[in-house]
Symmetry: C2
Subunit: 182 residues, 2 copies
DNA sequence: CGCTTTAAAATACGATCGTATTGCAAAACC
DNA sequence: GGTTTTGCAATACGATCGTATTTTAAAGCG
């Protein structure tokens, strides 16, 4: 057999290409052929690592989520020991907001997938929302406010992605909310 | 020539079918043929009223927006004369949230279109955001809080659509925010 | 009434889709 | 070192896509 290959790495390579296509031309432009071309590989190779297109999509969605998770934990651990809850929360929220170019691309992909999975029967979506909610609640004076905080961040992200809000507007609104809650 | 026909009505008939397809199977399932079948008409007729698929999509998006607008003004005018700002604002927000089945379908369509237009070059999106923002600001003690209120509502709507939040959770978070602001 | 215009259907066309199938070369294994 | 397994490419297949073209029939108008 040919040289042993890192399956996860190959899959990620393809998923990255998928996300580039999705961010640039939308999820509807994501086809096996386009993704293969964007990755610089053959259609057959994509098929080798993903039996179906849906399998590929689900994997790519997982990659986006993992990346977000990684960004968040990195930003949080960069805060040093024993940061104030408010600082931690703000860091978390700002990290997830699509403010720079890379996280903007991720956000576009996540948005496209959101619309994609909203209709799917089930099984695809995981519940990182619940755990995020719990974490936010642990940082707030009033844990019940977590639902609103998460929703506010999501909404700000949407409007930033859509171009209706600037990054500054989003940050201002976020800080105003934190002022209210702390 | 055949009987004169109400063009707008025919277009709306087709757009309604489009939205039914999009709400049930996602925007990717929206094809000229599917829409025609869902509307119970021929492909040729769809082509007669929309020269391209994109033209059809843009029209459908406009219909969704108009319907939302209509719902809001109806709900507001049902409040009677001189309602309190807080009541007006709450009515506005609750009306837009996808809490019942019909507005949920509209919300799904709007979400799908959001992902669709986020990538499109330009021209498609209108700026009803700005006018909504102004209206909300006029109802708030602190007009600057409008940005956050609108984003919160959008985020709540997303999570309700995605099934992560229940309608009750969304309403509770909304009222909590109004308590903070008034 | 006959001509013309137009709503609507039917069909055709080439491109692209997801996926199945087949072929082949390279390396791991006995 | 031959055999077998596996990574990957190539290609084929039928379905579906958006759209162009052609036909049919009905009704407005002189």
């Amino acid at each position: 057999m040919p040289k042993q290959v890192d399956v996860r790495e190959r899959r990620t390579l393809i998923a990255d290409a998928l996300m580039r296509v999705a961010a640039a031309q939308g999820l509807e432009a994501v086809s096996v052929r386009h993704v293969a071309a964007a990755a610089g590989v053959s259609v057959g190779m994509v098929q080798h690592y993903f039996r179906t297109k849906d399998e590929m999509m689900v994997f790519a969605l997982d990659v986006v989520r993992d990346r977000n998770q990684t960004r968040v934990t990195a930003a949080l651990s960069a805060l040093g020991p024993d940061p104030q809850p408010r600082v931690m929360l703000r860091t978390l929220l700002v990290t997830i907001l699509p403010l720079d170019e890379q996280s903007r691309a991720d956000g576009l992909v996540a948005l496209a997938f959101l619309a994609y999975t909203a209709v799917r029967p089930a099984g695809v979506k995981s519940d990182d929302t619940a755990q995020m909610l719990g974490f936010i609640a642990s940082l707030l004076p009033d844990p019940d406010a977590a639902v609103g905080v998460l929703a506010l961040m999501e909404g700000l992200g949407m409007y930033v992605l859509g171009g209706q809000y600037t990054a500054e507007q989003a940050l201002t609104a976020l800080d105003a909310q934190l002022d209210l809650l702390f």
